[in-house]
Symmetry: C2
């Protein structure tokens, strides 16, 4: 059994040939390779060993404070010392100013090695982006360096018991005080890293709260910074009421947090909360997609290792004993699916991140952010479940640590906007914006991939685009989208994933293992993309299913 | 949150209109209803409360013995007192002689209420069938009454560390001794109920072992009864070496069992082991399908309860506050999928069990046993995962107990022959037997359903049969089946599931909730069955993917 090994060559191949990272003006391929080589050694050596400890021991609430296993604290100390928190932060804030895509590659590695470690750290990146985009100069100068150095971590305090997908129901109140600051009171739930002892509990909370006399709904929400510690070093009036007991992610402290008149400062103006928070939410959505890639990768690695060693049955190799199970066709189907999802999602998500960094196609980003979030997190579910299946009965045992991947991964289609919310966003809003700009840019992307693809793959992609056109027409014509939106989102995801694979196949000569790239690309083309027609057919059926009587859905 | 409530009206509807239970000569609808009403009350009152206790406390190994939570012991005492273990056992063995299908309906209820309780008991049924089919008169008269009374439970000791799917690699040895009995030595793993304290550890182990000078492979295996206790009341030389730590099913003792010269008697003749064991393995396969139905049902129930209560967002109902989430289209999609899978798999599996009891279509049984096992266990995965998704962030918390369903259910596609093995059996053997008798009988079944169906559903079924014909021709023509077998099996499963739904729809007037049956049937017809074409397309693609180089699949 292996913990995790950074797939350095695969990542570099995906960055260059899948994501087109060299389109970035400040791209230095050699530097990128050096940085990721160092990152890989650090992740494999220091972070991967945390994962089983985190699952078994979890994080505990001791005297009102979240206590992570001591190995996590020591690993973070080294991580911070190595300067990793500020990898992609501008030098003016004390960071190293490298491309964001390298921080995302590191994020993938951390997710594969130990998703709970990645999770506790991840919100700091979105918080820095939010401050840089929306904070005052004082806020930027005070907080970004603290986050970039790793002295502080961050949270995103949105959810309340009655306000999950529907943030407009949030009740947490912010009241202004004479010195221009605010006091926040209310309860937030599902706050990842709401407390921890990696930074001695030093946390910058970003909080959505309602100001006095604000209108109901999301327009009444404002964004606040509420720090764990006050300037005099004492603690702000923020406490952890409880840690949730979860299916997985045991080391990630998921906190119920109470604000009792906690001091805070506003970011932007009152009522701008959701708009300001969107920077962070979109960054987090793509980071969750990156988590999906990391989880798919580690599921693949453990499966390949097991399937190479485990011998059962004859597969016609002519040897005297049983063959390794990676000779059996059904196991090959499962391994191919995992390889396709891990490497294809990596290429697709990385390309989206590079496009985001280029900043040239905002409409495409509106589409690809939910597409990547949903498709890559579904990929994590599938690869993890296949890893269990490949391990047979051993897959159900805790010691083989593939069931852990499935348990940890199960939150990814839920948090940062459920995949159903991502689908509703795309079907209800994104494809209708700017006279269909998002779909036009998406079509150009897929056509661009087809232009470089092998003829067989190009044909599949053009056929997929025709199916998408039929499905889009049906979606744009109907009012009731709920029942179909998820199939529509998956259709776009499969096509983007197919386009990513066609690019990898076209560059197979430069791949670390050209044979594997070509074999997997054929599998994607002839096998996985078959699903597109069924998805399009679902989108095209009449809306009658959407108008079913309410009592059908009651207990 | 609800534990579990026996869906009595749905089960009776499925028995009559889905399964055609009245085709059984000794069927008495009123008696069946009475028996299942009593069973439901017992299951809801006594068994369902065990489930969270079992998950939290699990079964522990104490002084070499498996100790289940005390509530399980007390529940079993009442269960036994109520005569439930012998429900479908012939009166000559002390049972109540009711149809087997009623025992299966009880099995579904137990699986929904507390799958670990069901699991510990379930092997006794297959063991009784095996003894009645293969045992000597003395073996039948000694052992069946002990099992029927519930004084004993049973195990099926097949797997060894090196011999999982490939039983031919089993090394456990059986040596004859002068008195005609045998001594067994070796280690078995993954033995469900290998020890427990429900029957004070009184267990009849059915063991596959190799006799001296037996040929290698499965032909050298023989079947033995090795009891936990010897006639003088002392313990046989059988010990539990360890209990596995698992993803789920925490209360079910999964034992590593050591036989150290344990006394045993042979069932049938040497070398007949696997053939004799097949009675039990087929019974268990269908019982695992029944487990899938029970798990799908409880996942549906918790989802409906939550989706009726939880309010988020507006769904156009015009009320002043947020709407219940069961008004949102994407939640409806998930609930419809769960309703379709729970009720449709119930009808499909029950029909197969009734056909088995009728004994008139052995070729169809060879096909439908693996189809039901794979399709219903996949349905359990999907309904459980959807239950988590419907619950949003709460679904990831242990206290809402939908993640438990997912963890418990994850073993069902693995044990009693992985779903990949079921697929290989169908594609490699079953459809080739007797000049295609199985497919002919299956086609007649689907055509029979179409003849009673609404025109729209009949058209879908006939279209599905055409797709099956194309896929079958491709499967029969190729030699390398591994990559495609699972898609082929799912195609047959979807078609059988569709046929089951067409029968339910045709009888909707008699359903407890005709509106729900009609709505769900439309969803199955227009939505779920779309997948058939993609599956057929996969079966039809060239075999090139099957001949990929070996090193593609190595780490």
């Amino acid at each position: 059994m292996i913990d995790y090994k950074t797939p350095l060559a695969d990542i570099l191949f995906a960055l260059k040939h899948g994501a087109g990272a060299d389109r970035l003006g400040h791209w230095d391929a050699e530097l990128a390779s050096d940085v990721l080589t160092h990152a890989g050694a650090m992740v494999d050596g220091i972070i991967a060993p945390l994962d089983p400890i985190g699952d078994m021991e979890g994080t505990r609430l001791v005297d009102g404070r979240a206590v992570m296993p001591p190995q996590f604290v020591e690993a973070y100390r080294q991580f911070k010392e190595g300067g990793w928190p500020g990898l992609a932060v501008d030098e003016e804030y004390g960071g190293q100013g490298l491309p964001h895509i390298l921080a995302s590659a590191l994020s993938e590695m951390l997710s594969g090695a130990c998703i709970t470690y990645q999770m506790v750290l991840s919100l700091a990146h979105g918080a820095m982006r939010t401050l840089i985009a929306s904070g005052s100069e004082a806020q930027r100068k005070t907080w970004v360096p603290r986050l970039a150095s790793g002295d502080y971590l961050a949270t995103m305090c949105l959810t309340e018991p009655q306000a999950g997908s529907d943030l407009g129901l949030a009740r947490t109140m912010a009241t202004p005080v004479d010195d221009g600051s605010w006091r926040i009171s209310g309860g937030k739930i599902f706050i990842s890293g709401g407390d921890q002892n990696l930074t001695d509990g030093r946390i910058m909370h970003l909080v959505l709260a309602r100001t006095p006399d604000a209108p109901a709904g999301v327009k009444g929400l404002s964004l606040f910074i509420s720090p764990s510690h006050l300037p005099d070093g004492s603690r702000n009036a923020i406490s952890v009421v409880r840690l949730e007991e979860k299916m997985g992610m045991h080391a990630s402290p998921t906190c119920q947090v109470a604000f009792d008149g906690a001091q805070a400062e506003i970011v932007g103006a009152p009522g701008e909360g959701l708009a300001r928070m969107f920077t962070m939410m979109n960054a987090e959505r793509l980071d969750v997609a990156v988590q999906g890639v990391g989880l798919a990768e580690v599921a693949l690695q453990r499966s390949l290792a097991y399937a190479t060693e485990r011998r059962q049955g004859r597969a016609g190799s002519g040897g005297s004993g049983p063959d390794p199970i990676n000779r059996h066709g059904d196991v090959r189907r499962m391994l191919l699916t995992q390889m396709a999802l891990a490497q294809g999602c990596r290429a697709m998500v990385m390309r989206t991140l590079v496009d985001l960094e280029l900043g040239e196609s905002p409409a495409l980003m509106e589409l690809m952010t939910p597409v990547c979030k949903a498709f890559a997190t579904e990929a994590a579910q599938e690869t993890a479940s296949l890893a269990i299946q490949i391990h047979g009965g051993y897959g159900f045992l805790r010691e083989y640590r593939v069931e852990q991947i499935a348990r940890d991964a199960r939150i990814t289609p839920i948090y940062e906007g459920t995949n159903g919310i991502q689908a509703a966003t795309v079907a209800g809003r994104v494809i209708r914006m700017d006279n269909g700009a998002a779909l036009r840019e998406f079509r150009a992307e897929v056509e661009g991939a087809a232009a470089q693809a092998t003829p067989a793959f190009a044909e599949r992609l053009m056929d997929g685009l025709a199916a998408l056109d039929r499905a889009s027409a049906a979606m744009l014509a109907r009012r009731d989208l709920g029942l179909t939106a998820t199939s529509y989102l998956r259709l776009i995801g499969l096509l983007a994933f197919g386009a990513a694979w066609s690019r990898l196949e076209a560059a197979a000569d430069f791949a670390p293992d050209p044979g594997r790239i070509r074999a997997t690309a054929s599998f994607v083309r002839d096998w996985m993309l078959c699903e597109i027609h069924a998805l399009a057919e679902r989108c095209e059926i009449s809306a009658e299913l959407g108008s079913l009587p309410d009592n059908v859905f009651e207990l």
